[in-house]
Symmetry: C3
Subunit: 263 residues, 3 copies
Amino acid sequence: MLLTIKPFQAVQFPPFIKQVQQQQPLVHCMTNDVVQNFTANVLLAIGASPAMVIAEHEVSSFVRVANSLLINLGTVCGNTAKSMLLAAAQAKKTQTPWVLDPAAVGLALPYRTNIAKQLLLLKPTVIRGNASEILVLDEQNSSSKGPDSQDSTESALTTAISLAQKYETIVTITGKTDYITNGKDIYSITGGDIALTKITGTGCSLSAMVAAFIANSMDPLLATASACFMMKKAGELANKQQGLGTYAVSLLDKLSLFNISDK
Amino acid sequence: MLLTIKPFQAVQFPPFIKQVQQQQPLVHCMTNDVVQNFTANVLLAIGASPAMVIAEHEVSSFVRVANSLLINLGTVCGNTAKSMLLAAAQAKKTQTPWVLDPAAVGLALPYRTNIAKQLLLLKPTVIRGNASEILVLDEQNSSSKGPDSQDSTESALTTAISLAQKYETIVTITGKTDYITNGKDIYSITGGDIALTKITGTGCSLSAMVAAFIANSMDPLLATASACFMMKKAGELANKQQGLGTYAVSLLDKLSLFNISDK
Amino acid sequence: MLLTIKPFQAVQFPPFIKQVQQQQPLVHCMTNDVVQNFTANVLLAIGASPAMVIAEHEVSSFVRVANSLLINLGTVCGNTAKSMLLAAAQAKKTQTPWVLDPAAVGLALPYRTNIAKQLLLLKPTVIRGNASEILVLDEQNSSSKGPDSQDSTESALTTAISLAQKYETIVTITGKTDYITNGKDIYSITGGDIALTKITGTGCSLSAMVAAFIANSMDPLLATASACFMMKKAGELANKQQGLGTYAVSLLDKLSLFNISDK
């Protein structure tokens, strides 16, 4: 089977961001300790409504009222792993769209790699990771040394397609070029800026944006691609002349101006 | 009994911020994972001294040296709930002023709603929430879908007054208009900016500011109103032309400039 | 024995920052909830690669792949204390350089003070604290009321030297003047800006920077001094005219521009 790669077109984007802005989806975020604040601000900037709920006693009932769910393994530990498995099981039951961000899975961290594989069986709507993280999920080796590994996204594309088919999910590999595939169609997105890798939380917040875009969406594949496109665009537009502190602030600015200008 | 609503006057503010700046109260913060950094920076900006201490083994002894305590339920879980109940019990015993922020209590989250009600019995000096959170505390229903619910503050004012009387506390409802009441007197504050609701942590850090303002205060009602006034003013002054990233930074700037200009 | 204090010279700095930029050390951070994001961004800004890994199941294996380790007690609790002790024991075994930041140890917080003393026995490469924290480690009293105590660094210098000798470590006291000693040599660094104490996380991220600088270093004493020098310089260069929000952003900018200009 030969699959062709379709470049995502800017013109495909507006209906998806408009839906986020109009519906202001409630995104239940279970994410890592490093990016909680940035993730919440990114979601608010694009017009969504973030809620970080993590207690084992609360996650199942909150998944029921949320429009989508994000699970990110960045700083997973015993307590949060249990909550995440409960939340994902609930999302599967209620067919709540959810995103798995298998942050930093790999050889050095077998504990979280094992949790990621358990979560995979609970039918994530979308998996979003960098190339090495996606490679690890398919039992292939990777030389990943941590969350910002620089395996090229091309190297993981075949794996992404096979994962998408096997788990009936959408797999998104982000990097210099992003690829988004459901195992049949593949979209690619170029652009962005290397500075996006020099501030913490851009990948993690992109996963949260994906969760916002797929909430109530009839077309989760293009919704996911739209989120990736928006992050790359904002990354290009953000001011990097002053240094990385200003760049992070400006990235939020640009995400929020997309919001305003398209309303 | 007919209670009249008194608009808070700018002229009432200076002595309260001056006390914070001169005494630099040590504010023991037990708050949620999303806003820890922002809260600490807000407290430093106004001249207070934040300390985040959460371990079950430490909270009681730290309440004894702190000038005030903040308890915010935003990301409460099993471990932190236990610590919060210990800290509040200690604050009651040592008469340390403390603020309860019942973040996101409501129908979808009965676990934290139950914890909030236990904490209510430990005599918080001030309760600060949005309208739906305050409504929930009085066993009334609310259509809250999360931490940023838009019930109008007017709708919760009667409840606030009755809660204040029942628990001998100060209840603060923040929103388009803020109301602060001890069950006898009611202050209102208008102004602010809708952008305050588009960045994360402004409500949570306001609760922390209230904790700073009531430390050692002879007039906790006006001290609480002063904190609310300061946040609304800073929210008006902050630059929102560049987008929401800049707005959050500028809000901290304005809070810290209040600090400098009034010294 | 009379030890002389040598002022650190700017000319000593370039080789150390160049090594960080070229080797991009993977810094395993176990730090407090308040400064996770800022610490990650500081490490990225100077060219290092941060990874926050905290789960008991993961820390030992991750220490083996990391180039250095940071342990900061700021918000330590039962679970994280256990993980920290495991990680430090592993670092001792694999001779991974590691930094102990005994944040807020003192009379009011005996639990963490006890953990700090257990960690001391696991041979930290560097200890970085303010004067009161260093004093506490040597069983002397201090009037510390929290993490930002203003004991002068001079007052703790004798203690620092004796701790360095006793535990065969490098002790760094930061404040108006920084002192860095291995018990034989002492470097001092002046400069910086009082505004560094008015935003949260500058001390904590300096500890993380030290971890980055000592990774693979043949001269950990001067590597540590170089990290302190860089933070003081960035603190001087950062824009403080607009207020403390802008100052924090500008500090990251300046750290990242060091990076760019020296490459």
